[in-house]
């Protein structure tokens, strides 16, 4: 079963309608479709693990010289 996209040219996003009885998703705007897709897309936890390892080995960033000058 394929979700059906009903295109409308409204500027504002409309709500997404879920037609559970027909087992079909219907989206009133492209943005609603993409938001639904984004909500269904989990963030892989592996990224955080890799970042954690990398940041642990990364020295803290220094403020630029002009900012350090004004902070005195």
């Amino acid at each position: 079963m394929k979700p059906r996209l009903t295109h409308q040219t409204r500027q504002e996003t409309e709500a997404t309608h879920h037609h559970e009885a027909r087992g079909e998703l219907e989206f009133e705007t492209v943005e609603a479709l993409l938001r639904h897709d984004a909500a269904q897309t989990p963030l892989p936890p592996e990224i955080a693990r890799r970042l954690e390892a990398e940041l642990a080995a990364t020295p803290p960033a220094r403020a630029p010289w002009w900012r350090r000058l004004f902070q005195r």
């Binding site: 037609h19 963030l43 990224i47 940041l55 630029p64």
Partner: protein
């Protein structure tokens, strides 16, 4: 069709060393998912999107000392992500590398958390969106992905895409039409 429960939040990277003003763990928690989705749909491959998000946050971490707080953090991260993804796409184009949907499908099949049916349905919708986005002009693709983020205003999108808010609104109308037509063809 019932919606699946939201995915559990990922573990957070450690809080960045203090002194430059950004709480990196909070920043990651608030924005990583949006950045990942942008990268996934721009690059068309989950493995490459993972690498891109990792690189984007690493760049953000290293560049945070130069971050101007006048700009929204989310817009700043989007700018880094867009530049990074566009550079990757440019270099792949030069080397004729095309991520394959099949690789991504196999990769995801191994990740638990969803029933096979739900995975299949989610996969199908995501694949159709990927195909439709691939068919439309890159400028439209970026515009739609940015506008889909409710936390980004037209001014931020205009700034990210180097055009006026009015131009964004005008192009958005055409982008929606192009996407809808392309999406219909994937059915």
């Amino acid at each position: 069709m019932a919606l699946p429960p939201p995915a559990p939040p990922p573990p957070l990277p450690p809080t960045a060393p203090q002194g430059v003003g950004l709480d990196f763990a909070a920043l990651y928690e608030a924005h990583a998912r949006a950045i990942y989705y942008l990268a996934l749909r721009l690059l068309g491959d989950s493995g490459r999107a993972e690498d891109a998000v990792h690189d984007v946050f690493l760049k953000a971490y290293r560049a945070q000392a130069g971050f101007r707080h006048a700009a929204e953090v989310r817009t700043w991260l989007y700018r880094i992500a867009l530049n990074h993804c566009q550079n990757l796409l440019g270099s792949w184009q030069q080397r004729n590398i095309h991520p394959t949907a099949t690789d991504e499908l196999l990769e995801r099949a191994g990740s638990g958390g969803e029933s096979p049916l739900r995975a299949c349905e989610t996969r199908e919708l995501g694949e159709r969106i990927r195909q439709a986005l691939d068919e439309i002009a890159p400028a439209y693709r970026i515009l739609l992905l940015l506008v889909a983020d409710e936390e980004l205003g037209y001014d931020a999108i205009a700034s990210l895409t180097s055009q006026t808010p009015d131009a964004v609104r005008g192009k958005l109308h055409r982008a929606r039409k192009a996407f809808a037509a392309a999406f219909a063809r994937t059915a």
